[in-house]
């Protein structure tokens, strides 16, 4: 699974363009097109409702946007985005370099632990951080001997930035490390032979090759920080998602819609900016030449500082949250009078995630097929529209669908199908990306050969292409599964009455300070997520 897959083709930094590979019978193409149209119609539903909702606010809506408090929300979101993207890059790039190129001891272990930070749900990390770094938290008790009675606490900007930084830095590490491993050794040698020293080689030869990967990672981090709900809600930082949640909870749909549209515009702006800034890659080799093993960089006297750096990153990103969960599991905390069996939570969480992952994968299939096999202008537009989920944060989809169901589709209101539709809209891009890239790696001649031997188009697809693409599709499935499992705002707002998942249980336990009820679901969620991540990463290894 390449991370860049989840970025829409139009904005993909690798300059990937689907091309016409195999001529398709018109009838088959039409079936795929009709299904795709239906899927895209559902995907666009939230946007339609948000625009309607915002328009119904009228002049009041415009006044609402222009008041100081709303402008403050924009400023908060931008500040959080810039700060967390900067911090994640500052942590992620050295981490990728150390685990990718250097003779750092135990570098695979550091890498795996670093990526484990990626599966931590932001709300869980935030809850544990507010305990660890709170006014009377663990950090304070460590500082007690030095006369520190009380810390100022990290609620607000600091806490939100800290949380988002540590759950997103793996999004920088993954692409940057992959780029580091792809670097061309002979370019470095050429640089050295022209008299550059090591530092100059890094700045003038290696860094330019990493730039697209770094900017892709930064884009992912920035998108995450704009769309994340858990961290800002727990940390009481009034960014867009939290403000929208508060308005949605009070059923003030017009205001919530106005805020949601603003957030979508900001996200779109970010994607366009990134696409503009990015210049198509010229960092590849032209001649034939054999691939050569990369030379490992010796750390020398930097070995211990580097080890310390990795240790601190892992300690804050992974160890502290897990430690706090264990502390709550075994420590003395208020007993929750509502006991929910772990098997019920597990069944609901795994069940709804599995169903959603299957639904999303099936819905993505015709779109990926069109993108690869029938890349006309119309079809490309269709596929790009299906990527709308990328600019719709979960809370925004939830808001739109509550609005939609409570007015126009009462039979869907508070039902599981509506929740699954919400997940599908949000995570369809992940699945299309994975399926499309799996298809694009298959030589169309295989399918053509099968056709020439008498198989129909569908049979060739089922017998030749699908099995070959199955690994990539499965990785996409696992990615959707992983994300649905830890999704919070949509689950919270759209779930049927009485339907509990790990995320819901953790949230309501946090709400009422039943810390022991956070621990077990939290640890279980992390464990299952790590398994899903392992499937995704195995695939990446296979591809590389």
């Amino acid at each position: 699974m390449q991370l860049s897959n989840v970025i829409p083709p139009r904005f993909r930094p690798t300059g990937h363009q689907p091309s016409v590979l195999t001529r398709w019978h018109v009838g088959n193409r039409q079936i795929a097109q009709i299904v795709s149209l239906a899927v895209v119609a559902v995907v666009l539903l939230p946007v339609v409702y948000l625009v309607t909702g915002a328009l119904s606010a009228g002049q009041e809506g415009i006044n609402y946007v222009l008041r100081t408090r709303t402008l403050l929300i924009i400023a908060n979101s931008v500040a959080l985005m810039l700060a967390s993207t900067f911090c994640a890059t500052v942590i992620g790039v050295p981490f990728a370099w150390l685990t990718g190129r250097c003779d750092l001891p135990w570098r695979r272990i550091w890498l795996v632990l670093g990526l484990a930070a990626m599966v931590m749900p932001s709300y869980l990390t935030a809850v544990t951080y507010s305990e660890a770094f709170g006014p009377k938290g663990i950090l304070q008790s460590l500082l007690e001997p030095f006369g520190v009675d009380r810390l100022p606490g990290i609620k607000g900007f600091v806490g939100a930035t800290l949380t988002v930084t540590f759950v997103t830095f793996p999004y920088i590490v993954l692409p940057v490390r992959a780029a580091i491993l792809r670097c061309d050794r002979s370019l470095e040698e050429a640089g050295q032979s022209l008299g550059l020293n090591r530092r100059q080689v890094f700045r003038q030869v290696i860094l330019p090759q990493l730039r697209p990967a770094i900017s892709a990672g930064m884009l992912m981090t920035a998108l995450y920080s704009l769309s994340d709900f858990g961290a800002v809600a727990v940390m009481h930082f009034n960014a867009f998602t939290r403000a929208i949640f508060i308005q949605t909870e009070s059923y003030r749909m017009d205001k919530a819609s106005v805020l949601a549209l603003l957030l979508i515009v900001m996200t779109l702006f970010l994607l366009i900016l990134q696409a503009r800034l990015h210049q198509p890659g010229r960092n590849y080799r032209i001649g034939t030449g054999a691939a050569r093993h990369l030379e490992t960089v010796s750390l020398g006297r930097w070995k211990y500082p580097s080890l310390f750096f990795c240790f601190i990153v892992i300690f804050i990103g992974v160890v502290i949250p897990v430690l706090i969960l264990f502390k709550w599991l075994f420590g003395h905390t208020l007993t929750n009078p509502i006991q929910v069996s772990m098997s019920e939570l597990m069944r609901n969480t795994a069940g709804v995630s599995a169903v959603s992952a299957i639904v999303v994968t099936i819905a993505a299939f015709p779109l990926a097929l069109l993108a690869i096999r029938a890349s006309t202008r119309f079809n490309r537009t269709l596929v790009n529209l299906a990527y709308t989920g990328n600019v719709l944060p979960g809370i925004v989809i939830a808001l739109a669908l509550v609005y939609f169901a409570s007015r126009n589709a009462l039979s869907l209101y508070q039902t599981l199908p509506l929740l699954i539709i919400a997940y599908a809209i949000r995570y369809l891009p992940y699945s299309i990306g994975a399926t499309e890239s799996a298809f694009s790696q298959i030589n169309p001649r295989f399918e053509e050969a099968a056709r020439s031997l008498g198989l129909s188009a569908w049979a060739a697809l089922a017998k030749i292409t699908l099995p070959l693409a199955s690994g990539g599709i499965l990785a996409g499935l696992a990615l959707v599964f992983l994300n649905v499992m830890k999704e919070l705002p949509m689950t919270l707002i759209l779930r049927p009455i009485g339907f509990r998942t790990f995320a819901v249980r953790i949230w309501s336990a946090y709400d009422e300070a039943f810390l022991s009820s956070i621990a077990l679901p939290g640890l279980a969620l992390i464990l299952v997520s790590v398994c899903a991540l392992a499937i995704i990463l195995r695939r990446e290894k296979a591809v590389n």
């Binding site: 408090r69 403050l72 709170g134 006014p135 009377k136 009380r150 606490g153 609620k155 009481h236 009034n238 508060i246 909870e249 009070s250 059923y251 003030r252 749909m253 003395h332 208020l334 007993t335 929750n336 009078p337 509502i338 069944r347 609901n348 795994a350 069940g351 709804v352 599995a354 169903v355 992952a357 299957i358 409570s406 009462l410 209101y413 508070q414 599981l416 099995p467 199955s470 690994g471 599709i473 499965l474 499935l477 049927p496 009455i497 009485g498 339907f499 309501s508 946090y510 709400d511 009422e512 300070a513 039943f514 695939r539 296979a542």
Partner: protein, 339 residues
Amino acid sequence: MSTYRFKLSGIVLMLIALVIAPGLTSADDALTVYSGRNESLVGPILEQFTEDTGVEIEVLYGGTSAVANQILTEGANSPADVFIAQDGGALGALAAAGLLAELPEETLARVADPAFVSPDGVWAGLSGRARVLVYNPELLAEMGLELPDSILDLTDETWSGLVGWAPTNASFVANVTAMRVLLGDCDTEDWLAGMLANGVQPYPKNTPIVQAVINGEVVVGLVNHYYLFRFLAEDPEITATLHFFPGGDVGSLINIAGAAILATSDQPDAAQQLVNYLLSDTAQDYFAQTTYEYPLVDSVEPSVDLPALGDIEAPEIDLSELDDLQATLEMIEESGALD
């Protein structure tokens, strides 16, 4: 990845889907309860109701204001049969919108004090609760602070950064409404602004505030009286105590948790059965013994060492006057308390 493995994973996922699918369909004939009270407080007694009567219920939990707004938005489409609120004001808001059905005389008569039922007979109080200041006596002594005589004194500089509140909690919202009724909008806005300027610490609900006071994160917190007793029941050693603001201060508001039946309910009989059950001795005893609230029927006594409901120097206010929920929510939002 081999085809075999792919198929296998697919089959496993399908199996998971099949196993859970039956559990996901809900019983259509169940009584639907919208609860603005936490599951940890009313969940056990609602389960007991099903056990005792065989009436299946499904419960939507949320904040009282949020749930009230949800019912207002859903209007005639609302699937709710019964609304349980932690604040008389929210019940009043739904009553004012004409969404509640009238309760029979004998149900209303169960509540001993007529101040705790709706004047139009559309909702009944289930339990009483007092707004209090929970404090950490050790920290208070350490810092040389004295307990304030009024909730209004908490804007004083000496309390800077030491107070906790739950600005989205319905009991807090009701307290602010009471303040608007007794002191006027201007003074209420000033108080909210003063608290924020004083670095008041926000928490999602009451329990985290009590936890924070026990941990020493804040020294005092604005809560309902009963949360502390849940902590004391598990660990009598903890250091936290209640302070009732004296002299009819608005900070000592006595409010109710109550229930009402929606006029649009398709199961009014079962709904009536639930409301009656919640006023029965069994349920009132539960509220007294388990959640440490004030029972509202004559036949049940409060369990813990609390001042009698009549002895609290509460402000003179009619609970049905607290129904201007929307304006209070707007004011709290405009004050920046939610930012």
